[in-house]
């Protein structure tokens, strides 16, 4: 059977000789148990390296010779060495595809350099970009203007639901507010910041990389909502304090003599649901001395001014939607898509 197979292949032998050897000899070797044929086969295998060498470049030939020396030692052990060598050889230099490990390596090296230079280019570009950008002042502020508004306490939700008689329902507001106001502690403010004159901008000329001083905003400014007198911020009496904070914007200045004011009212429904609100500071405004903001790099201790709303008389046991708006020149508070620009809407639902 096997003989037939061989004889059929024989005529084609001269044509595709080398080619055939490359892909068939190893497979065949495994098949051949017959000693005679094995000898023949071996003879053929022996031809392969010679032919290959003719094809190969000088360097690889040298490499090869080294291998052959190794092989010389291994020869007595028999065919297994030969096979291993063949496999190794093909791995290093596959004559059919004329590819070798070295070439694969070359490709990797080329790609490495290509990507390295791309990385260099992008680094250069980014470097140039940073050269044009001041670390102290953003180049443009049109997207962050007009200022947005946020309130504290804030925990994922703008619905204030609590039961006066159940401290568990409002305790987290108190903790949150206390935590938030830690930075406003009078002692801290007095230590870090300066007391600057009210009613005018606190303009600090000089190089932009100079550290800027910040104006004090003491916790005590918030009076009844400071948590100093009433550590529960009025939550225990059903008169909750809510702090309102305007988003910082570098270089933002309210109109001179016309500080930004806060006013809250019922958003929808009966106006009388909220009968009175106390604002602290009483002006219900952000004093001009807290402006402009010079950016966090130089204006390290800048303390955002706050306005506290003390809802002293709100209808109980029903949800009251409240809208607090900023008012002033350069303030927009009616953007349809953005419910936090110049205003904030939240609901109070105080149960007794």
């Amino acid at each position: 059977m096997r003989r037939q197979l061989r004889s059929r292949r024989a005529p084609a032998f001269p044509y595709g000789y080398r080619y055939r050897l490359d892909d068939q000899d190893e497979v065949n070797q495994n098949y051949l148990a017959d000693e005679e044929e094995e000898a023949e086969e071996e003879a053929r295998v022996m031809v392969v390296p010679e032919l290959d060498e003719e094809e190969e470049e000088e360097k690889e030939e040298e490499e090869k010779e080294e291998k052959e020396e190794e092989e010389g030692q291994g020869q007595p052990t028999g065919n297994a060495w030969w096979q291993k060598l063949q496999i190794l050889n093909e791995y290093l230099w596959d004559p059919e595809r004329r590819m070798s490990l070295a070439r694969t390596g070359l490709i990797l090296v080329i790609y490495f350099f290509f990507y390295a230079s791309l990385a260099a280019v992008i680094t250069l570009c980014m470097y140039t970009l940073f050269l044009t950008i001041s670390p102290y002042m953003p180049t443009f502020t049109e997207r962050v203007k007009p200022p947005g508004v946020m309130i504290r306490p804030f925990a994922h939700s703008l619905n204030f639901n609590f039961n006066v008689s159940e401290p568990d329902t409002w305790q987290h507001y108190v903790i949150s507010l206390n935590g938030f106001l830690q930075g406003y502690n009078d002692s801290l403010q007095e230590e870090m910041n300066v007391d600057c004159p009210p009613g005018q901008y606190f303009i600090q000329d000089g190089n932009e990389d100079e550290d800027k001083k910040a104006c004090q905003f003491k916790r005590s400014f918030l009076k009844n909502c400071s948590g100093l007198e009433d550590p529960t911020f009025g939550y225990s009496t059903g008169q909750p304090c809510i702090l309102l904070k305007m988003n910082r914007i570098v270089g933002f200045r309210p109109e001179l003599g016309d500080p930004v004011k806060v006013s809250c009212k019922v958003q929808r429904g009966d106006e009388n649901d909220i009968r009175s609100i106390n604002y602290y500071p009483e002006s219900a405004s952000f004093d001009l001395r807290y402006y402009p903001y010079y950016g966090k790099l130089t204006h390290v201790n800048y303390t955002s001014p706050l306005v506290a709303m003390h809802f002293t008389d709100v209808v109980k046991n029903q949800a009251v939607p409240v809208q607090c708006q900023l008012k002033g020149k350069g303030i927009i508070n009616d953007v349809i898509n953005d419910r936090f620009v110049g205003r904030v809407i939240f609901t109070l639902n105080i149960e007794t």
């Binding site: 791309l118 992008i122 570009c125 980014m126 953003p138 502020t141 997207r143 703008l158 966090k296 790099l297």
Partner: protein
């Protein structure tokens, strides 16, 4: 087994036997795969009919037997009731239209083909995502709904577009029905009736007269001078006479059967030929019906470009899906919400799929189709535009394609000399010696012994274009003499005809007797023409240089040599002789009686020989040479005689001047054919008979072994076999043809090319392309256009694929690094379907980089449209550079607005929280959610503009694959500039005009951001120039192999 295979070929044209045999075969006959397929289609409902057809022996039966067989009466015909019965049993006498795939299914196929399925999945996932979001939060963002709807819109739009394009192509069977004669004269109930041919049934007795189409396959019962033109069936233009006698075993060859849809010729004789016959088969059971079913049974192979596009779709879809899934897994393992991971998956798929590309390819192909139509190549199937470009073998029919399909006088022999006549399309310069007096006599015979006449009212028409009443050879003679002598009709008038014996197949001569034009010469002139050997028999003298000489052995030998030589050229030879009747025996008043033959028909004077051939078109040799240099093998496949076929092949260069067939070598060396070493012969002429005895392996060997092959005397089935054989050589095969008999091969071929003027409707319908001017040379144009479009499609695809990486990277970075999303999915669609469409179409207008007609046709398995270098270079080189450039624009915008790159890292989660309305940026500024979103849209727009700007550079570099842009010329392709302008205009419109439409997520962008990516664009261009430079400098190098796509 072998025996059986051989038998398959033993029946020509009659497809039934082949099919029947194969059916019995054990399925090992792989070679017959086609037939098997064809059979499978029709097996169930047609098998019975095939069996019946198998013993078509009606031509052998006598009239009585026929009457018995079909239960009819030759005199009275069928009774109406019986006819109605039969009609109900067999159905109408019409070819059944093929099963059409319903339009809805075609439409739906378009909807799910290509990338559509991916997009459907994407859209579906969008809705699922929204559904899940909505169930947990009723105020969920509508983004996913927008995206899903947009995706569906995209799929539907591209589907409708593709459907519209496909709907333009027509159906093969449409014209078979057109060929049906409208009316038939039939004898029923002893009465002659005119009924619609559709109502004919087997056994009907019909009468056919000259000019009619044969209404069904009929067995002739009675005939008077009836001749039919079978050319649409066999390709032979020779009219064939039909009589009631059984003349041949083969039903196709016998004279007593006329075939459906062939034409009964209108003779010049009065009365015109008529025939009465009995209908023996109708509708699909006719021979033409079989060929039609053969043609429609041949599966529509995928065009090479369709295969390429599919391959490309697979690559891209594979990349899209695997990256999508990979990042889905990464996202999930990075603790992203599964819902988010699904949205990433959608975005990655959308980013990876070039939505607009398939539409672009269609537009590109149809642009080329239009351009080709201008050059007289009408392309029916859009994809066939490219097929011609990859064609490696053209199997050309002879008659009508390579030749003019009109008999023309080619050679004359008189005065012991052969003269060559001009056979070009207009016969303009006849240069042979016309001074000899023998010529004067010969020309007189040619003029007088001819019954063909010009149809009246064609005075202004050039002679060669005039319509003639008469058969092909008489027409040739008439036109020949009209060109040389002038007004033939006038000459005939001057030499009044007094008697005539028309040509018939038993005498094989035609004789007429005329008065002479010389009033003083009262003799009658008898002129005769016919088969040369017959004519010679009737002659005792021969005219040499105007002198009558006795016909001795020497002159007879000269005659035979000339006859053999002309015959050897594949030409039809006619002999001419004349005799002046002596006045004493035939006075002026003598009344000639053609029935009594009261005049001599022997001892004539032999004047000369004249040979005719259907000459090649003058443009063909040049076109064949061009095909050769373009690496295309031209094979002639004809139904004609081998000698004629070989002669024509030689004259058009299909067999080149210095190559010989085995037979030629044997002749030259004077040895037996078997002794010749087959390797010496470059050319081969193979007849259908020989082909019949060949095994598929032998055919393969033949096709591979000889560069120049002519197949003669082939049947439609054999044409199919040849085409299949060529296709087994991995060749892309083009078949040209004009007859009904060619239609199966036309259908089977990778591209079938039909002749627009001479072609039958069936051929035109089976073909993918129609040559409007019947000019073989138009094929060369087609090849050129096809190759160009392949190259240009590569460019288009490379252009389109490049930006995929730039579109994909944002999502990958978004997932891994957590930047705010650099570009939205809908924005991507605006690139794919907006800015990129016109530029990619513009690349179709690019001129060839080098002489594309000097290279070999592409190998359909090796030279892929989208190959490794193309994908790697587009994705990993240019694509990556583009992505970097676009990111630069994105970072610039964010940095200038306050978010420096290091702040952006891992900002994603906070950034996207709706309740965080005081997110701090690098400067300590606080942002509301909406402000961030607005900034994000600005980022989308910036990224979009970044890609756009670099796509302009990409467009410019894709103009060439090897040459420098400057070699190609920046301004030669104006459409490219239209494309660039369109990109910019659409970009401006989107970023400034539509900035306020929420769903589109565009925002106003400062003008300077348009220029941020410009250095990158320049870099891309420089890099590509360097690549091309190295390719040109080091052809064959590693660089060339890996960087040339």
């Amino acid at each position: 087994m072998r025996q059986k295979t051989l038998e398959i070929y033993s029946v020509e044209l009659d497809g039934t036997k082949d099919i029947e045999k194969t059916d019995e075969g054990d399925g090992k006959e792989k070679y017959r795969g086609l037939k098997n397929k064809c059979l499978d289609l029709n097996k169930h409902h047609q098998k019975e009919e095939f069996k019946k057809e198998l013993d078509l022996d009606d031509h052998k039966l006598s009239n009585k037997e026929l009457e018995r067989k079909y239960g009819t009466d030759i005199i009275t015909g069928l009774s109406s009731s019986r006819a109605a019965e039969l009609l109900a049993r067999d159905g109408p006498n019409a070819l059944s239209p093929p099963k059409r795939t319903s339009e809805i299914i075609k439409f739906l196929k378009q909807m799910v083909g290509g990338f559509s399925i991916l997009l459907w999945i994407g859209a579906f996932l969008c809705y699922v995502a929204y559904g899940i979001l909505y169930s947990s939060n009723t105020s969920a963002s509508l983004d996913n709904v927008y995206l899903g709807s947009v995706l569906i819109l995209v799929v539907i739009l591209t589907g409708v577009f593709a459907y519209y394009q496909e709907a333009k192509s027509t159906n093969i069977m449409a014209s078979f029905s057109k060929m049906i004669p409208q009316q038939a004269l039939v004898i029923r109930d002893s009465e002659k009736k005119i009924i619609p041919a559709e109502q004919l049934v087997v056994g009907d007795i019909v009468e056919v007269k000259g000019g009619d189409q044969i209404p069904a396959d009929i067995r002739v019962l009675f005939s008077q001078g009836c001749r039919v033109d079978n050319s649409c069936l066999t390709g032979e233009s020779e009219p064939q006479s039909r009589c009631s006698e059984f003349t041949h075993e083969n039903p196709l060859e016998t004279k007593n059967i006329c075939f459906y849809s062939t034409t009964c010729l209108e003779g010049s004789a009065s009365p015109a030929g008529t025939a009465t016959g009995m209908v023996i088969s109708t509708g699909d059971r006719t021979i033409i019906g079989h060929i039609a079913s053969l043609a429609s049974g041949v599966g529509n192979e995928k065009t090479p470009i369709a295969v390429e596009i599919e391959h490309f779709v697979h690559i891209v879809a594979g990349v899209a899906v695997s990256i999508g899934i990979l990042f889905f897994i990464i996202a999930v393992s990075m603790k992203y919400h599964v819902l988010d991971a699904i949205i990433f998956l959608i975005s990655i798929i959308v980013a990876n799929v070039p939505e607009g590309l398939l539409a672009t390819v269609t537009v590109t192909l149809s642009l080329t189709a239009k351009r080709m139509a201008k050059k007289n190549c009408l392309v029916k199937n859009l994809e066939a535009v490219e097929t011609l470009g990859s064609t490696s073998i053209i199997c050309s029919d002879k008659t009508g394609t390579l030749t003019q399909n009109r008999m023309t006088v080619a050679h004359l022999w008189f005065d012991n000399q052969i003269f060559v006549a001009d056979t070009s399309e207009d016969h303009s310069n006849q240069v042979f010696d016309q001074s000899s007096r023998t010529w004067a006599s010969l020309s007189k015979i040619i003029t007088l012994c001819n019954r063909a006449e010009f149809k009246p009212g064609q005075e202004s028409v050039p002679i060669m274009k005039k319509v003639v009443v008469g058969d092909a050879s008489e027409t040739a003679l008439l036109k020949f003499s009209e060109v040389i002598l002038g007004d033939v009709m006038e000459i005939r008038k001057r030499n009044r005809k007094v008697a005539e014996i028309p040509f018939n197949s038993t005498n094989k001569f035609q004789l007429s007797i005329h008065e002479t034009e010389d009033p003083s010469d009262k003799r009658f002139l008898a002129v005769m023409k016919g088969a040369p050997e017959r004519i010679l028999e009737k002659c005792s003298t021969i005219m040499i240089n105007g002198q009558e000489q006795p016909l001795d052995k020497g002159t007879a030998r000269a005659f035979h040599t000339a006859y053999m030589e002309l015959g050897g050229l594949g030409e039809r030879v006619l002999g001419f002789c004349h005799l002046y009747l002596p006045t004493d025996k035939f006075p002026e008043t003598y009344s000639f009686d053609t029935d009594a033959m009261n005049f001599p028909t022997s001892n004539f004077c032999f004047v000369g020989l004249l040979s005719m051939i259907d000459p090649p078109r003058s443009t063909v040799p040049d076109a064949v040479t061009k095909c050769r240099s373009a690496g295309i093998k031209v094979i002639m496949v004809t139904g004609d005689h081998p000698i004629t076929a070989k002669a024509i092949a030689k004259s058009v260069g299909i067999i080149s001047a210095n190559s010989e067939t085995v037979e030629d070598i044997a002749n030259r060396l004077n040895i037996a054919v078997e002794q010749v070493n087959k390797r010496d012969a470059k050319a081969a002429v193979v007849t259908g008979q020989e082909l019949k005895d060949m095994s598929p392996e032998q055919l393969d060997e033949l096709l591979a072994g000889y560069p120049e092959i002519v197949f003669a005397r082939t049947s439609p089935q054999q044409k199919l076999i040849i085409v299949e054989g060529c296709q087994r050589q991995e060749a892309v095969v083009a078949v040209t043809g004009d007859g009904v008999n060619d239609s199966p091969a036309l259908k089977k071929a990778d591209i079938g090319i039909a002749m627009g003027i001479a072609g039958s409707d069936a051929a035109k319908n089976a073909a993918d392309m129609v040559l409007l001017d019947d000019n073989f040379a138009s094929i060369v144009t087609g090849v050129e256009e096809g190759r160009l479009i392949f190259d240009n499609l590569k460019k288009t695809i490379a252009y389109t694929l490049t930006k995929n990486i730039a579109e994909l990277c944002p999502f990958l970075i978004y997932i891994i690094v957590g930047l705010p999303l650099p570009i939205g999915t809908i924005t991507l669609l605006f690139i794919d379907l907006g800015t990129d469409i016109i530029p990619s179409v513009a690349l179709a207008y690019e001129k060839a980089e080098s002489d594309i007609m000097n290279r070999k046709p592409r190998h359909k398995k090796r030279d892929r449209l989208v190959n490794m270098p193309l994908a790697v270079y587009s994705y990993l080189h240019i694509g990556l550079m583009q992505a970097l450039g676009a990111f630069l624009v994105y970072f610039t915008v964010y940095a200038q607005q306050g978010f420096l790159p290091r702040t952006l890292i891992n900002l994603r989660v906070e950034w996207e929280k709706d309740y965080v309305n005081d997110l701090e940026d690098s400067y300590g500024q606080e942002w509301t959610r909406y402000q961030r979103r607005h900034l994000e849209w600005t980022g989308y727009t910036a990224f979009f503009i970044g890609i756009l700007v670099q796509q302009i550079a990409d467009l410019v570099i894709r103009k060439t694959r090897r040459n420098s842009i400057f070699q190609q010329g920046l301004f030669r392709n104006k459409v490219i500039w239209v494309g660039i302008a369109s990109q910019i205009v659409i970009g401006l419109l989107l970023s400034y005009g539509l900035g306020s439409v929420t769903a589109l997520s565009f925002a106003m962008l400062r003008a300077q951001y348009w220029f941020v990516a410009v250095p990158h664009a320049v870099l891309i261009w420089v890099y590509d120039e360097v690549r091309k430079l190295f390719i040109r400098l080091y052809p064959g190098s590693w660089w060339d192999k890996n960087m040339y796509y």
